[in-house]
C-alpha cells in the first residue's frame, strides 16, 4: 500500500469536501425552506471567488503582491461573503419571489436562466480565460505550496489548514445560529411548515431572505477557499462545483444540515480517491454512481428522514 498517495488524497479529499460542504449547505437550506433547486447557487460561489480575486488585483496582482497576508485574507473573506450573500438576496428578490406559488417547473427554469446569465455575464466582464489566483510574493512562496509535512512527506499546506479551520468555524457559527437564535428557530419552523409558520406570526419573507443571505455567503467563502487552494478562477467553475455540491446535499439528505456536511466530505473524498487511484476523467462517473446508489438504497439521503406526503 502506497501511504504517500493515500494520505495525499485523504488531505485533498477533506479539503475539497469542505468546499463542497459549504456550497451544499446553501443548497440544502434553500431547498429546506422553499423546496427549490437553486441552480444559480454554484454561480454565486463563482462570483464569490472573483470578489476575492478582486482584492488580489487591487494589491498588485498574483505575481507582485505587496500586502499583509492576514489583512488580505480577512478582506477577501468578508467581501466575498458579503457580496455573495447580497447576490443571493438579489436573486431571490427579483427572480424567485414572484414564483413562490407557481408550478414547480417555473422557478427551476428561472434558476437555470439565472445561472446561465451569471456565467455569461462573468465571461463578458472578466473574460473566459482562467485567472491566476496565486498570491505569489506574500511569503515568497504561495500558501498553497508552503506548509507542514506529515510523516511520509505529505504536505499539508497553509491553504489546506485555512480551509479546514475556516470551514469548522463557519459550521460552528451556523449551528449556533440555527439552533440558538430566534431567527434560527424561525428558519427551522419555516422549513418544517411554511404556512403554519406564517400563521404563528413568523415573517416568512424575512426568513427566506436571511436563508438566502447565509447560504450564499457560505458559497462566497467557499469560492475564496477554492481559489487559494487551486490557484485559479474561471467563469464556468460554478457549474461542476454546483453539481457536485448538490449531489452532496442529496446524498446527505437534502434539507438536513449535518447531512450536507457529511455528504460534502464523502463526495470530496470520493472525487479525490477516484482521481488518485483511477483517473481524473472518471471522477464525475464515480460521483454519479454514488448518487444513483444512494438514491436507489435510501431515496431520502443517508441522514434524511423519509418525507411523508400529506394531501
Amino acid at each position: 500500500m502506497n501511504w504517500h498517495l493515500f494520505v495525499t488524497e485523504l488531505v485533498t479529499g477533506i479539503t475539497h469536501g469542505c468546499v463542497y460542504a459549504l456550497i451544499a449547505l446553501g443548497y440544502s437550506m434553500v431547498y429546506g425552506i422553499l423546496k427549490l433547486l437553486n441552480f444559480a447557487h454554484g454561480d454565486v460561489y463563482m462570483v464569490g471567488s472573483y470578489i476575492g480575486y478582486g482584492w488580489i488585483t487591487v494589491f498588485g496582482g498574483s505575481f507582485a503582491m505587496h500586502a499583509n497576508v492576514v489583512l488580505l485574507l480577512v478582506l477577501m473573506f468578508t467581501s466575498a461573503m458579503l457580496g455573495g450573500g447580497l447576490l443571493g438576496v438579489v436573486i431571490e428578490r427579483f427572480a424567485y419571489r414572484r414564483l413562490r406559488n407557481a408550478p414547480r417547473i417555473a422557478p427551476l427554469i428561472t434558476a437555470l436562466g439565472v445561472a446561465f446569465f451569471l456565467e455569461n455575464a462573468a465571461q463578458l466582464i472578466v473574460g473566459a480565460q482562467q485567472q491566476q489566483y496565486n498570491p505569489y510574493g506574500w511569503l515568497t512562496t504561495p500558501i498553497a505550496v508552503k506548509g507542514w509535512f506529515l510523516p511520509s512527506h505529505v504536505l499539508v499546506s497553509y491553504a489546506h489548514a485555512i480551509i479546514i479551520v475556516g470551514t469548522i468555524v463557519l459550521m460552528v457559527a451556523l449551528t449556533w445560529f440555527v439552533q440558538r437564535t430566534q431567527t434560527g428557530k424561525a428558519m427551522r419552523a419555516t422549513s418544517y411548515d411554511r404556512e403554519a409558520a406564517a400563521m404563528m406570526g413568523i415573517d416568512v419573507d424575512r426568513v427566506i431572505v436571511v436563508t438566502f443571505f447565509i447560504g450564499s455567503a457560505l458559497a462566497g467563502a467557499a469560492g475564496v477557499f477554492n481559489g487559494i487552494e487551486y490557484s485559479q478562477v474561471f467563469p464556468l467553475m460554478g457549474f461542476q462545483a454546483g453539481l457536485f455540491a448538490f449531489t452532496a446535499a442529496v446524498v446527505g439528505g437534502i434539507g438536513n444540515l449535518p447531512g450536507s456536511v457529511a455528504g460534502g466530505l464523502l463526495i470530496g473524498l470520493a472525487e479525490s480517491f477516484a482521481t488518485g487511484y483511477v483517473s481524473s476523467t472518471f471522477q464525475q462517473a464515480v460521483v454519479f454512481v454514488i448518487l444513483i446508489a444512494v438514491m436507489l438504497a435510501r431515496p431520502s439521503g443517508l441522514f434524511g428522514r423519509a418525507a411523508v406526503q400529506k394531501v
Binding site: 423546496k35 433547486l37 414572484r98 451569471l118
Partner: protein, 486 residues
Amino acid sequence: MSEDTPQRPDERQVPKVGVDSWVATHAQRVEGTRLQAELARIPRPAFYAGFAVFAALLPAFTSSGYIVRVGFDTLLYMLLALGLNIVVGYAGLLDLGYVAFYGFGAYAYAMLASPKFGLHWDTLAVIPVVVIASAILGFLVALPSRRLLGDYLAIVTLFFGQLFVVVMQNGESVSFLGLTKHYDLTGGPNGIVDIDNWNLGGLHVGSVQGYYYCALITFMLALTAMYLVDTSRTGRAWKSLREDPLAAELMGMPVNRLKLIAFACGAAIAGLTGTLFAALNTTVFAINFDVSTSLIIVYAVLLLGGAGSIGGVILGAIVVNVSLEVLRDPNHSTWLFYILIVGVLVAKIRPWRVLAGILVATVAIGYALRGICAAAWPRGMQGEPVVGGALGSWVNGWVIHPATPQTIANVCFVLLVVAVLGLTLLHGWQRLVALPPTLYLAAFVWNNRLAVEPSVTRLILVGVILIVLMNARPQGLLGTARVEIA
C-alpha cells in the same frame, strides 16, 4: 315538476361538471379579443399545414445556402423541442440531460455510417436502430429515478448529460475493465469525421436543400404523431400526471410506467434528430452536445413557445433561432436590440405622449453628456463606434464612445443590471423619471460592449429571456395558463 321548480335568484351559468369552477371563471375572465376568438375557431391542423407549405416554399424563395441552413437548424430545434415537449410539457418531468440523447443519436449514426468502423449502413436501417437504442437509453436513465420527486430527476439527468460529454470526450481508448486491449470508440476530442450522407435505400441526400426537406418531412411526421398523441389516452394521462401525480396515481394511472414512456419517447425523437445533425455536418464532437449551451437553448425554444403546445414549438424555434442568428452580426443585432426595447416601451407605456417624452429625454441626455465630455473629458469622445448601419449611425450620434471602453462599459453593464432591477421596484412617476437614464445606460453598454462580443451577448440574452419569461408569462407565447390551486 321541472316547471314549478323556483328559479334561484343567484343562479348563474355554472361550469360543466369536471371543470374546476375557479379555473373556468378564470378562463372566462381572461377571454381575449374577437380576433383571438376567430383564430381559435380555425382547426389546428390548418395552421400546421400552412406552416408546412410555407416552410416547403422557403428554398424556392431564396438561393442563399445560408438561409436554408438556418432554416434547417431551426427545424432541428423544432424537432428537439417537440421531443422535450413530451417530457417537460406533457409529463411535467424536468429532463436536464436531454441533449445527451441528441448526442447519442448523432454518435450512433456516426458510428454506423462512417469510415470509423468501416460501417456504411443504409439510413433506412440506421434510423430504426438509433431510435430504438435512444428510447432504451432514455428508459434506463429514467429507471433509477422514476420513484423520486421531479427535482431529483432533474439532477440525475443533468449528471447524465455531463457524463455523456465526458465519456464521449475520453472514449478514444476504451478497454473493458482493463481486460481487453484498448479500442477507440468515439475518437475522443477529435470526434468522428467524414460521416456519410443520408442514403435512403439508394437515394443519396447531398445538398443543404435536401437535408432541409428531410428535416421538414421528419418534423411533419413527428408533429402529426404528437398531434394524435395529444388527445389520446396516453396524452391525457401524461397531462394529468403533470397536473398532480398523486391524484393521477389515485385514479389508477400507472404513474411510473407513464414517466418511463414519456422519457423514452422524448429520447427517441432526440436520437432521430441527432442523425440529421450528424449527417449534415459530417462531423460530431462531444462539445456539440454540452449541457449548458445547447440544453438551455432547447429549453428556451420550448418555454418561449409554451410548454405543452405543439404550435408553440414551431413559433419558439423560429423566434429563438432566428434571433440568435441575427445576433451574430453587430449591425443586425443593434436593430433587434433597439426594436425590442422600443417594443416593450410601446406595450407598457401609455399614453404615447409620455413615451415620446421618454425617448426624447433619453436622446437629450445623450447630447448633453456628449457636450460635457467634449468639454471636460476628451478621452470619452475618442473611441471608434463598433455598430454601423442606418440605426447604428444614428445612435452613434448621441452615445459616448470612450477610447478604451472595456473597463468603463463593464462597470456600466453591472450598473445597468442594477438599474433595471431597481426599475421593477419603482412605480408611477418615479419609474418614468428613472427610465431615460436607464435607457441611455443600455444604449451606452450596448454600443460599447455588448455589440462588441456577440457570442457572449447572445447567451446572456437567452438567460434574460428565460428569467423574464418565467416571471412574466410562465405559459409562454402559445401555452395555456395553468391555475395553481393550493
